[in-house]
């Protein structure tokens, strides 16, 4: 068995060899693949082979700049490292000829230059977002090969484990306490308290579980971390095992994340081979093994007791706490359950100390927060910022503001458990307590930006629909109360709502919160409560005026062709309407038969932009009468 020093020297020399030549980094996490990154890899392979260039391609994870995928960086020793965004296969020959083989950095295709690395987090100074970001968990993402443990080790990986194994368990937990780290699963429970409870628990064996059941629609940061830097999570888990006295760990990961599972498997195998897992880790009297448990698709499994039931092979339903899993968890044994990101911080805290970590962030929320930005922002993707950064900075400086010059309406944080916050609250700092005060929560960190074209009642209905489908059915109020709320919301969006319904929603929301055992039910009313609090006027417009101001709710909206704008000669709408609802001979103004119209929106989409004749109207009463003036007069 090699000593850690030998392992590290070997890894560093492999890394240095790479750095001393030209090499290409291509982001191949799921988001990159969806945008066609593997095709880009193929073309690079062929182009390099054709030119007989021996240049390594490193398939890295995600840099968080998902809007820029496929994302390619070309690194040359002694020269600028240049990043290219949205690389299409047909621009690959140009890049190879220009910058891989030659000295032309192809500036017309470049996004910016990449700085940092070698212990420092990489950044692209041309992009203003990097002034706001502080990348701790993301520090290696998009920079190292997640399938090569040597890349991780050469960049400081497993150094914290080596250090931790020379520390006492109490000292490690002491550092965690000093750091002020709170669980990143959403609720924000102090991490050291859980660890200390587990350490002190008398019963054996003990277990460590990593919760990677990231079920919030619109949140994908855990996936990115596991696909881009799985070893930092594994290292954190091993340190946890040592600190609490556990011999076995599980990573519970959704089966919807096949690439993450594959990369964890590879990482576990490599960590075993290197002696970071298994018996007598790094020559110490401590052994630890990790297994993967693949989830089978249930949102409620994100709740800790429900997750434990799933690992045990049962229906994933929660149970009352106490006893907490720290005392009685997996197979009724003491179990430490933390989120992917919580484990991800552990190596850094051990390495740099709790005081360093607590110097970042705000009074009550230490460290960084990771968010996925999606919806109507210009730059969707992933960001890591110090706690205390404002929502406005995140949406505008990092997200680049609202796409297509539309008006900002709301930002939704925390998925089905969180809330929709309006423009007036954009300056609140991001931390556990401020978000909770505003009626939302940190949740898993999914952030969705909505603009003027989004209906807030419809958004609330969407989240309630999700919670209803995902309720495990154990608690009556969660099973039936959320369903009742959904029915009320459906009535309102369909124009059947009554003004008393709003009080009914508020009353039901309180009951569902009180009557549910776990976080799913307790937080399911949040989207309704926050939209009612900040966007009550939209609810009232739906009920009193039958008007959906965003023109989203189909029952309150009609499509109409403006006669003065219709080209008459063009027949795009007539030919594409799936229900043959549009009439009009060539040369005539086209009209929509409202009886037949299915409100699919195809006519709006195909009407050429130079005419822009199709509009949506709400309320329905705005529709000009289709009868001729003579007919009107007769009436």
């Amino acid at each position: 068995m090699m000593t850690f020093e030998e392992i590290r020297n070997r890894a560093r020399s492999e890394w240095e060899t790479l750095q001393n030549g030209v090499y290409i980094l291509i982001g191949t996490a799921t988001c990159g693949r969806a945008a066609g990154a593997l095709d880009v890899v193929d073309v690079f392979d062929k182009e390099l082979a054709r030119r007989k260039l021996e240049v390594p391609i490193v398939k890295v994870g995600c840099t968080g700049l998902c809007h820029a995928d496929p994302f390619v960086t070309i690194a040359k020793p002694g020269s600028l490292r240049v990043a290219y965004a949205n690389v299409a296969p047909d621009s690959v020959p140009r890049l190879v000829e220009g910058y891989v083989a030659g000295d032309d950095p192809c500036l017309e295709l470049a996004l910016g230059t990449v700085e940092g690395g070698d212990g420092e987090t990489i950044s692209i100074p041309e992009l203003p977002r990097f002034e706001r970001e502080l990348r701790l968990i993301l520090r290696h993402c998009g920079y190292i090969d997640p399938e090569n443990i040597n890349h991780y080790i050469a960049n400081g990986g497993y150094g914290a484990l080596e250090k931790a194994l020379k520390m006492s368990a109490a000292k490690i937990i002491g550092e965690l306490k000093k750091s002020g780290l709170r669980g990143r699963g959403g609720a924000g429970f102090p991490a050291h308290t859980k660890w200390e409870l587990c350490r002190k628990a008398g019963s054996r064996p003990k277990y460590v579980i990593c919760n990677a059941d990231e079920g919030d629609p619109g949140a994908f940061m855990d996936r990115v971390v596991l696909e881009s830097d799985p070893h930092e999570v594994i290292e954190g888990m091993i340190i946890a095992g040592y600190a609490i006295g556990a011999e076995r760990g599980y990573i519970y990961v959704r089966s919807e994340y096949p690439l993450a599972i594959e990369r964890i498997q590879i990482a576990l195998r490599q960590a075993n081979e290197m002696g970071f897992l298994g018996d007598n880790i790094l020559g110490n009297d401590f052994g630890f093994k990790i297994e993967i448990a693949a989830g089978a698709g249930a949102f409620v499994s994100g709740e800790e007791t429900a997750l434990i039931a799933a690992v045990e092979g049962r229906m994933s339903t929660p149970r009352p706490r106490p006893p907490y899993p720290a005392e009685s968890g997996l197979w009724s044994k003491p179990t430490l359950l933390n989120n992917v990101k919580t484990f991800g911080y552990v190596p850094l805290i051990v390495e740099r100390g709790g005081d360093w970590f607590s110097s970042i962030g705000t009074e009550g929320s230490k460290g960084t927060a990771m968010f996925t930005l999606a919806g109507k922002v210009v730059n969707s993707g992933l960001a890591e910022v110090p706690m205390g950064t404002t929502l406005r900075e995140l949406v505008y400086d990092i997200g680049g503001g609202i796409a297509k010059d539309k008006q900002f309406k709301a930002v939704q944080i925390g998925g089905p458990s969180g809330g929709c916050l309006p423009e007036a609250l954009l300056d609140i700092p991001i931390d556990y307590d401020s978000l909770r005060e505003a009626g939302s929560m940190m949740g898993s960190g999914g952030m969705i930006v909505m603009d003027e074209d989004n209906c807030m009642v419809d958004a609330a209905r969407f989240f309630l629909d999700f919670s209803t489908k995902e309720s495990c059915g154990l608690c009556t109020m969660c099973r039936l109360g959320t369903l009742q709320m959904l029915r009320v919301l459906e009535d309102i969006t369909a124009g059947r709502g009554k003004i008393e319904d709003l009080d009914l929603l508020l009353a039901l929301a309180e009951d569902v919160k009180m009557g549910s055992l776990c976080g799913l039910g307790k937080t399911a009313p949040n989207p309704v409560l926050t939209t009612l609090r900040y966007f009550r006027d939209e609810y009232e417009a739906h009920i009193l005026e039958k008007r959906c101001s965003a023109r989203v709710c189909p029952e309150l909206t009609v499509y109409y062709i403006l006669p003065e704008k219709c080209d008459r000669a063009c027949e795009h709408c007539v030919l594409t309407c799936p229900t043959e609802a549009i009439k009009g001979e060539k040369g005539e103004v086209k009209t929509i038969d409202q009886e037949k119209c299915s409100k699919c929106g195809t006519c709006l989409e195909v009407c050429p932009p130079e005419y822009n004749a199709v509009v949506k109207l709400s309320p329905v009463s705005l529709l000009p009468s289709s009868k001729s003036p003579a007919e009107e007069a007769q009436k």
């Binding site: 799921t30 988001c31 969806a34 945008a35 998902c66 809007h67 995928d69 079920g215 919030d216 629609p217 619109g218 949140a219 994908f220 996936r223 089966s255 919807e256 994340y257 448990a293 693949a294 989830g295 089978a296 698709g297 249930a298 949102f299 799933a310 690992v311 045990e312 092979g313 049962r314 229906m315 994933s316 996925t372 999606a374 919806g375 109507k376 969707s380 993707g381 939704q412 998925g415 999914g446 969705i448 909505m450 989004n454 958004a459 969407f462 989240f463 999700f466 995902e470 495990c472 594409t576 799936p578 299915s598 699919c600 929106g601 195809t602 989409e605 195909v606």
Partner: protein, 171 residues
Amino acid sequence: MITEEQAGKAVGEVLGHYKKEKKNLIPLLQEVQATLGYLPRKALQGIADFLKMPDVEVWGVATFYNQFRFVPLGRYHTTVCMGTACHLAGGRLILEALERELNLKVGETAEDGKFSLERVACIGCCMLAPVVVIKDKIQPKMTPFRVEEALIPYKQEARGELEEGKSESKS
């Protein structure tokens, strides 16, 4: 559809890799489904017998989780992402367009086994919203009209196969 004999054989092979422990129930269901494409009744019974559990308990677990299916998927399995970002970008219209174009409701498989339609909560490609996945290929930034276009090559392929099938059965 898979015959009882095929199901029994496939389950037997999968069971060979597992210990008779209750915690293996979900991995077993996952592996059998990966092998057969869905979970026929016979397979569920085989797993229950193996783990010495009542059939109903296995059925309970299998129906609890979204991943498990009890009818085979179509050859051109189509999933619509109904995550938040996709919803806000018009996911409902995309879903309706697919239902109309495929003449299927969510959760159904066509009688000829060619197409099937399912909705998922989020596939995590929010920057490409709204997203549809046809036969494992992600179709980004869908519109109701583009749904029709995206399906054309698959429908053509499916028709080609159907015709081949007919001529084979004639000869």
